[in-house]
Symmetry: C2
Subunit: 241 residues, 2 copies
């Protein structure tokens, strides 16, 4: 039979859990938005859709506001609930991840800006295939990193980290092709440069998805796998299973 | 007269303060290193000094390790000391700022990589004046942002934020000049692109210095000035004086 004090403690603990899960949900909502932002920015670019590009740029303000709210909420939870162990790792990881998600949003906004510039200059089909391909790839990395976070699934997180190397290779290859094209047709330099900036932004999105994945592993395992060889992350995840 | 309990509490409080100031010092040390990394990377580039570029790349591993240590220490302080109010803002701000400093280190490493590529290709004087100029500018922003943090000086932090706009303008102007030059002399495309990536990296360093400055204002004032117009930051800082 529970005493009044037990009931009180249980109540506090339930409140705490619901605050943590609210924090987690907010991050997932923000993640869903920035993933969509990346996809929309790429669509706006390859389809020359200025209206969609404008929508992406406007939506970024909302992303920024969610960042502020999440940071405020995370700090409030630390102050009020004094979380320890895995709860604390969750809150600290959220504080880290929210910065990565915000920057993914920023990169989408930059891509939208280049989409507007390219739409004005007219079609520049060179590089669009690569933009779409790498765009789809990094958007799926963002989605998978968020899934890994939602389900505390470090195997999925590890897979995201491995994808990042593939994206880096795709990025380098696409960039090299554009340089060759610019040399063959100097009139295309300005347009090709815009595509290169877009590819760079997408490559950065992949980096941020990778960071989110690293934070998921830290959150679940308590092992910080940043700046370490892939084998270190693999060992941390294997210990779990 | 103090009781034994008072003495104990005072002892704990002294330990806590020394832990906070140790955390702060570690961040300042890391900041000093990455500022130097930016300067060295730029020197390596404009002087074609491959040996210095190699040193910058090697040193980045140390920066990465300091990041891990600071994050670990900050999390440990939260768990053990349950800081509140301005102490908590300090710790959370450190967790944010350490990520910006690490990325400044990353950008320096990238610049060093381009310095090596350019040293191999031979001199490419085009754009070096701008690289040196913007490099000096953003390195001083990093230094000022760290000074602002060391002295809790929000006026200096605000000045850093204002510098960032100037750097963005310098960056755009330097980039435009390079595009023009590439069109005039397509054989220079590859070298000019390397310089453009370097300018981009420096512009990012300025962004991260700006982020550090924003966190300093949050830490001191409790007002989050991110994603707000400059006038909002100005008001937050004026309230202090």
């Amino acid at each position: 039979m529970s005493t009044s004090k037990d009931t009180h403690t249980k109540h506090i603990s339930q409140q705490f859990n619901s605050e943590l899960s609210e924090l987690k949900n907010r991050l997932l909502v923000m993640g869903g938005i920035v993933e969509q932002q990346v996809q929309n920015a790429v669509e706006a670019l390859v389809n020359g859709d200025s209206e969609l590009a404008d929508r992406v740029r406007a939506k970024d303000k909302e992303v920024d506001q969610i960042e502020l709210t999440i940071d405020e909420e995370a700090t409030r939870i630390i102050a009020k609930r004094q979380p320890a162990a895995s709860d604390l790792r969750l809150v600290v990881s959220v504080i880290k991840m929210v910065a990565d998600l915000e920057r993914i949003g920023d990169e989408a906004k930059k891509i939208a800006k280049f989409a507007l510039a390219l739409a004005e200059e007219g079609q520049a089909p060179r590089g669009y295939v690569e933009v779409r391909h790498i765009g789809t790839h990094v958007a799926s990395m963002v989605r998978d990193a968020l899934d890994a976070f939602a389900r505390f699934d470090t195997k999925v997180a590890l897979a995201v980290m491995k994808e990042d190397d593939a994206v880096d290779n795709e990025y380098r290859s696409a960039t090299r092709a554009l340089v060759t094209f610019m040399m063959e047709d100097p009139r295309s330099i300005s347009r090709c440069l815009n595509i290169m900036w877009v590819l760079r932004a997408l490559e950065r999105v992949g980096d941020h998805a990778n960071n989110v994945a690293e934070h998921v592993i830290f959150m679940v395992e308590g092992t910080d796998v940043r700046h370490a060889p892939m084998s270190y992350a693999e060992q941390a995840v294997e210990r779990q299973s």
